[in-house]
């Protein structure tokens, strides 16, 4: 059973000239209690996808396609209807916790407001008990319930934000780089909390991150995003063991970790999303690019073990014209073009 079913979602940002195709024909499913890692570099469209799912797109953005939740398509719902769903059904955790907490309100007030809005029938006592319990599970003691946001450290504020989302028992939590502004030990603490959501709260998690280490340790499945498209998706173990898309492989090789023995970087730079390259978006940087890759958009191919990939190396053969599998001739990339 999937909690959320995204089908052929597109998100465009209007610019004076042509639109930016931030999310370009993306399909994605998240199962109940599953932790799905959405990974990509800056500008890949991963944050826009997260916001698109929650209907939190900025002015001037347009979405089409389907975001199915509980049988309803969220694309096209009014802001009022979306607000009713956000919170009790779809929770959200951002990168910068301080900007999301009202500095003038006590932590207790944040919880009271949230619960009053979405579960007005709860008694005062019940509200308080639920708030304290959820905060406690996030490691925030009841003695600090009546303090203000500025009295907490960065890691504690992020714990409070997560508790504030979880107190409504959402079916899905979208966390956009929730640990990026935190130190590495605190990041580890928060990731441990998020990885245990299923056990403790029965909540599915869409974890948006640029850090493949986080995906490896905390996620069940992963989707790799490049230039607005999901180029590969599958169980974390399988993708790490044998990445199907050349971009995934390059990304894995360029990740610097304690186990890294040699430095590697991907030549070239991510494309302009106003005027992306024709064919496969990655072909100008791809070490295996074929002639077809510069001409035709790869079709999505299903692989064994519930995996899928968009890359001509995996076919289908019928889509490749005669001579299309020959190596692509191209110009060399300048030293700093990658940067």
């Amino acid at each position: 059973m999937s909690v959320l079913d995204v089908r052929r979602l597109r998100v465009f940002y209007g610019t004076p000239g042509r639109p930016v195709r931030a999310v370009d024909d993306v399909s994605l499913q998240i199962g109940e209690g599953e932790v799905l890692g959405l990974v990509g570099e800056s500008g890949s469209g991963k944050s826009t996808l997260g916001r698109g799912i929650l209907g939190l797109l900025p002015e001037g953005a347009r979405a089409d396609g389907e975001v199915l939740y509980g049988g309803r398509n969220l694309v096209g719902l009014s802001q009022k209807e979306l607000r009713r769903l956000r919170g009790p059904d779809l929770g959200l955790v951002f990168q910068e916790p301080m900007t999301r907490l009202n500095p003038l309100l006590r932590i207790s007030d944040h919880f009271r407001e949230t619960l009053k809005q979405h579960e007005p029938r709860l008694s005062d006592d019940e509200r308080r008990r639920r708030s304290l319990e959820t905060l406690g599970r996030m490691g925030i003691p009841p003695t600090r319930f009546r303090q203000y946001p500025h009295e907490f450290s960065g890691g504690m504020r992020q714990r409070i934000m997560i508790a504030l989302a979880l107190v409504l028992r959402p079916k899905l939590l979208v966390a956009d780089e929730p640990t990026t502004s935190l130190d590495v030990i605190v990041e580890g603490q928060i990731l441990a909390l998020l990885a245990d959501l299923k056990r403790n709260f029965d909540t599915a998690l869409l974890l948006i991150t640029h850090n493949l280490g986080i995906v490896a340790e905390a996620c069940d499945r992963m989707a790799v995003m490049y230039a607005g498209k999901i180029v590969e998706e599958g169980p974390v173990r399988d993708v790490f063991a044998d990445a199907a898309h050349p971009y995934t492989r390059e990304l894995l090789r360029s990740t610097i970790s304690l186990e890294t023995t040699e430095l590697h970087s991907i030549p070239g730079a991510p494309p302009d999303l106003i005027d992306p390259p024709p064919g496969c978006r990655f072909h100008p940087r791809c070490p295996h690019a074929m002639r077809v890759c510069a001409e035709r958009l790869p079709e999505e191919q299903r692989l064994e073990g519930g995996r899928r990939v968009q890359c001509w190396l995996h076919g289908p053969a019928r889509g490749i014209p005669a001579g299309g599998e020959l190596p692509l001739q191209r110009q060399t990339i300048g030293v700093a073009d990658e940067a």
């Binding site: 570099e41 800056s42 008990r129 639920r130 304290l132 319990e133 905060l135 406690g136 599970r137 490691g139 925030i140 003691p141 009841p142 003695t143 600090r144 450290s153 960065g154 890691g155 504690m156 130190d183 590495v184 030990i185 605190v186 990041e187 580890g188 603490q189 990731l191 441990a192 990885a195 640029h210 850090n211 493949l212 280490g213 986080i214 995906v215 490896a216 340790e217 905390a218 974390v236 173990r237 790490f240 063991a241 990304l251 360029s254 990740t255 610097i256 970790s257 304690l258 186990e259 890294t260 430095l263 590697h264 970087s265 991907i266 730079a269 300048g334 030293v335 700093a336 990658e338 940067a339």
Partner: protein
């Protein structure tokens, strides 16, 4: 409190480029508006609190720590951007702590800096050519515009922004993050510096770009005979980049040594935790569950004894246990039980915990009206039984109910000192406690490190 451990060593054959001795950089903080009005200080932040280390010529020294460790302040003190409040910083034999700005400016030609955020480091109204050439103008080195442009082009090509004509007249917004950081590096290089302070130079860049910038910096170091102070929170990139690593925590160097030794056999519990916390791209590894609790505490009121003791899984008697640790113990207990009915009654038993916020090794709490000190004692004993391996209890010397008061004494705190241990120097009671109650740094080496003998 800390014994003066630094003796003037005989100058070795190659004197270090930078010698930092017992450096202190403290900031005054002022409290509320009324206090600010009358100029009263609310406290002092000990951002750098007695740091001794050398930067050797031609090496890359990694200064690694979390936010709040003081690593950036140490770098800024070295650059003369914040004044040292104590100790000494010698650059090439010359004392720079307390140097007037005019003299410091001359030195800054030799000490250049690359900051974390390339977007904020470049003036959006200046072209790349203007920005990179600016230091030559400020220092009055090159006034001829044609020659200046030629020199700028040369440096741009050296950092990979080639052909330079493509970049000279562009504005920062036209460049990607990595290209901007290359321009920032070019601007630092154009003055022919001796020392480059690089404060998180790659942490805002995408993974696919980091390796390129690190490789560029290593090539530049080789070609221009540079010395680097690499300030970072990231032990993974530091492993590639650094010859030696210094781990910093709340203003102190807690471990320092050759990079291979630090990674192969980390000694300080904090170093071990930092290494364990790095997310590894290995799906067979789960998120580590045994990380130190809490966060880096406030440097205005650091924990007694070893600053790391409240988070340390191995802390024992002398590490500095105190009243605030009792508060943490109670709060963690109540967080675990949050939402259960007993908690509020337990909280009422201990009442306001604010008095425990004043650091003390002797705690005396009166039982609230209608309750007894024996009940308070019983609750603590129950917490102890639930987790008897909690390091806190090793620090407790006496715990009893006396005359309606709960009394609790901790062992006397001792501040650890940096001392040699197996090829590195470490500031931790787990090492070197056997020889003396307080370990003295190795007298042969001012940094506490065993001399390499080379």
């Amino acid at each position: 409190m800390r014994p003066e451990a630094i003796v003037d060593p005989p100058e070795p054959a190659a004197a270090p480029l930078v010698s930092i001795r017992d450096l202190q950089t403290h900031y005054s903080i002022r409290g509320n508006f009324a206090e600010r009005l009358v100029g009263r200080e609310a406290g002092v932040v000990h951002a750098v609190d007695g740091v001794t280390l050398d930067i050797r010529r031609g090496e890359v020294l990694g200064l690694v720590g979390e936010s709040g460790s003081g690593k950036t302040t140490l770098g800024r003190t070295l650059l003369g951007l914040v004044p040292a409040t104590g100790g000494s910083v010698r650059f090439d034999g010359q004392e720079i702590a307390g140097l007037p700005e005019r003299r410091m400016r001359e030195l800054r030609r030799q000490i250049q800096v690359v900051f974390q955020d390339p977007h904020a480091s470049l003036n959006p109204a200046m072209t790349i050519g203007q920005a990179v050439g600016h230091p030559l103008q400020i220092h009055g080195i090159e006034r001829n515009r044609a020659r200046l442009r030629l020199r700028v082009a040369e440096v741009l090509e050296r950092v990979g922004l080639a052909p330079a004509e493509q970049y000279l007249d562009k504005y920062p917004t036209d460049l990607s993050g990595g290209q901007k950081q290359r321009a920032v590096i070019a601007r630092a290089l154009i003055l022919d510096p001796v020392l480059l302070v690089a404060d998180e130079p790659v942490s805002m860049l995408d993974m696919s770009v980091r390796a390129k910038i690190l490789e560029l910096m290593l090539a530049l170091k080789r070609d221009f005979d540079l010395t680097y102070l690499y300030i970072t929170h990231d032990l993974a990139t530091a492993r590639f980049f650094c010859d030696r690593i210094a781990i910093m925590y709340l203003g102190r160097i807690v471990e320092i040594g050759p990079a291979p030794a630090i990674y192969a056999d980390p000694k300080h519990p904090y170093t071990r935790a930092l290494l364990r916390a790095i997310p590894e791209p290995d799906p067979e590894r789960a998120v580590p569950r045994d990380l130190p609790r809490g966060e880096v505490p406030d440097a205005a009121q650091p924990p007694l004894g070893c600053h790391f003791h409240p988070r340390c899984p191995l802390a024992f008697e002398p590490c500095g246990w105190e009243s605030r640790d009792l508060r943490e113990l109670l709060e963690a207990h109540w967080a675990r039980l949050a939402g259960e009915p007993d908690v509020e009654e337990e909280q009422a038993l201990f009442g306001d915990l604010a008095p425990l916020g004043r650091p003390s090794t002797e705690v005396r709490l009166a039982a609230p009206r209608g309750r007894s000190a024996e009940e308070m004692l019983a609750l603590l004993e129950r917490i102890r039984r639930e987790a008897s391996d909690e390091p806190f209890w090793r620090g407790v010397r006496r715990l009893e109910a006396v005359d309606g008061h709960l009394e609790l004494d901790f062992h006397e705190p001792q501040s650890p000192q940096l001392a040699a241990s197996g090829g590195v120097a470490v500031e931790c009671h787990l090492y070197g406690m056997s020889t003396a109650s307080v370990a003295q740094p190795n007298r042969d080496s001012p940094t506490g490190e065993p001399s390499s003998g080379s």
